[in-house]
């Protein structure tokens, strides 16, 4: 986590952007935004802009990756070079490799990959603009894109982070809170069963603070889930095809 700093991140119970500790940044989601992908979603979350596209089930390449038991699921989290202040070099780095790996594992819990043996399903998420919390925004969008692709799913996935700033547990860290905060705990849950399918943590937390952070995220996840459903409902009303 963050650098040491004298910056006060909470004043009079309000955060730098005026949010309360357990308040999310504004989120908007739209399903069905791409023409080529079988399913897609665009999501804005604070200053984050991400777009997710899902291809498949389709022929598995390379062949030796195919399984007679399930679809081979890949997940590619990619930051556009212009998404951050200091230009990011194109292509995967260690951070995005790790995020892609754990996000694929989370998605595999809900997409019914066992229904499509010998195929592959590819999930691509492009981070167009980054503003802290991109991995959560990406996975939340990916779940909507997978549903938009009509893939059979056990549940959706909602991802969200809580953390600690100025010794206070808060929801959904913004960019400065991320840079100068004390801890960050991104999670992903299935909204119905409350199963946790992704969990990372870094920083410094007591057991109690950790529990508080998780509880806060789980509560927020319900709100986000409503937005996911709304996006899909609007999409199905309107019918297929990119508008």
């Amino acid at each position: 986590m963050g650098m040491k700093s004298d910056l006060k991140l909470i004043k009079n119970g309000k955060r730098l952007d005026g949010r309360k500790p357990d308040e999310l940044r504004p989120i908007t989601i739209k399903a069905g935004v791409l023409d080529n992908a079988n399913g897609s979603a665009y999501l804005e979350w604070g200053g984050n802009k991400v777009i997710a596209g899902v291809y498949g089930p389709r022929e598995c390449l390379p062949r030796h990756r195919s399984s007679p038991y399930k679809a081979y699921l890949t997940y590619r989290y990619n930051m556009a070079p212009f998404s951050v202040d200091d230009r990011k070099r194109p292509g995967p780095d260690r951070r995005s490799t790790e995020i892609s790996k754990i996000s694929a594992e989370a998605l595999e819990r809900v997409i019914e990959v066992e229904k499509f043996p010998n195929t592959m399903i590819n999930v691509f998420v492009e981070v167009l603009q980054a503003d802290a919390g991109t991995r959560c925004a990406a996975l939340t969008a990916a779940a909507v894109a997978a549903a938009d692709a009509g893939l059979p799913m056990r549940d959706l996935i909602v991802s969200c982070a809580a953390g600690k700033i100025d010794d206070t547990v808060v929801l959904d860290l913004g960019k400065k809170e991320d840079n100068f905060g004390q801890a960050d705990v991104p999670i992903a849950i299935l909204p119905h069963s409350e199963e946790i399918v992704l969990l990372q943590m870094d920083g410094d937390l007591t057991k109690e603070e950790f529990k508080e952070a998780i509880d806060m995220s789980v509560k927020a996840a319900k709100q986000i889930y409503e937005l996911q459903k709304k996006a899909l409902t609007e999409r199905f009303k309107k019918g297929g095809g990119k508008e």
């Binding site: 791409l34 080529n36 556009a80 212009f82 230009r87 691509f124 503003d131």
Partner: protein
């Protein structure tokens, strides 16, 4: 041959069959562009950015300005780098990995259009001769590939450059938060991509036409001058055809310039 290959074969036959009858699948006239939408400042984090939709093709250009050292043979000039990522989200034909020849060609043709037209005053981008110069990095990203990336990229590129803010540079540090005016852009080059199927000449290939075409010609113009050209495809043009397309490019470029 995969199922997908066979499906493309059938589509290609159909596209070629239509062309013989001087028709296009989407009913367009030969030299008609699809609907074009520009959205400048789409990526607020970037110093300059534009999203372009050309029919169902969708691309984003982002501009970065980085302090660097000049080339040894141009000590008093800034530099330009153009990079294209054909991200696999945009098409089942694109794969992850290092840039393939297609991506390199797109990047170099767009780069030439800007560089050769004198759009950027590279000498103005020099801060200290021989030591510090601005490097303009132009990143072209595709989200949905439905034909004619040349023109979509070129339009996004020049539009993003036109709305690029110059960051402050003080005491050896780039201060992105404070900007002082805009990047100096002196010209507005645009590119028009024509193609030929059989004997028929057309403009702005759709995805199916991109796959079915015999030959392709991109003409970059600025005002009444040509600044870059690129022929592609396994077919050929006659000299007469090229003359006709160059004429047409001056006409169509006016339409595009109006959008900037």
């Amino acid at each position: 041959m995969t199922v997908e290959d066979i499906s493309w074969e059938i589509k290609t036959d159909y596209t070629r069959h239509l062309a013989k009858k001087k028709m296009r699948e989407d009913k367009r006239k030969p030299f008609e562009y699809r609907k074009i939408e520009l959205e400048n400042g789409y990526i607020p984090n970037a110093l300059g950015s534009t999203r372009v939709r050309l029919g169902k093709t969708e691309v984003i250009a982002g501009v970065s300005l980085v302090m660097g050292t000049p080339y040894p043979d141009k000590l008093n000039a800034g530099t330009l780098m153009t990079s294209v990522e054909l991200t696999p989200i945009a098409s089942p034909m694109f794969e992850s990995g290092p840039p393939r020849p297609n991506a390199v060609e797109y990047a170099r043709v767009v780069d030439r259009g800007i560089r050769e037209s004198g759009t950027l005053d590279f000498e103005k981008l020099c801060v200290t001769e021989g030591e510090e110069v601005w490097m303009v990095i132009l990143d072209l990203h595709v989200l949905d590939y439905n034909g004619n990336l040349f023109d979509a990229f070129a339009l996004a590129a020049i539009s993003a450059l036109l709305n690029t803010k110059m960051p402050k540079y003080e005491d050896g540090k780039v201060i992105r938060e404070e900007t002082k005016g805009k990047l100096s852009v002196q010209k507005k080059p645009v590119e028009c991509t024509f193609f030929k199927i059989g004997d028929m000449l057309m403009l702005d290939p759709s995805l199916g036409e991109d796959k079915a075409l015999d030959a392709r010609l991109t003409v970059a113009t600025v005002g009444d001058r040509i600044c870059a050209m690129q022929k592609g495809g396994n077919g050929s043009f006659t000299m007469k055809e090229i003359d006709e397309l160059v004429d047409m490019s001056f006409k169509k470029s006016k339409e595009l310039t109006k959008l900037l």
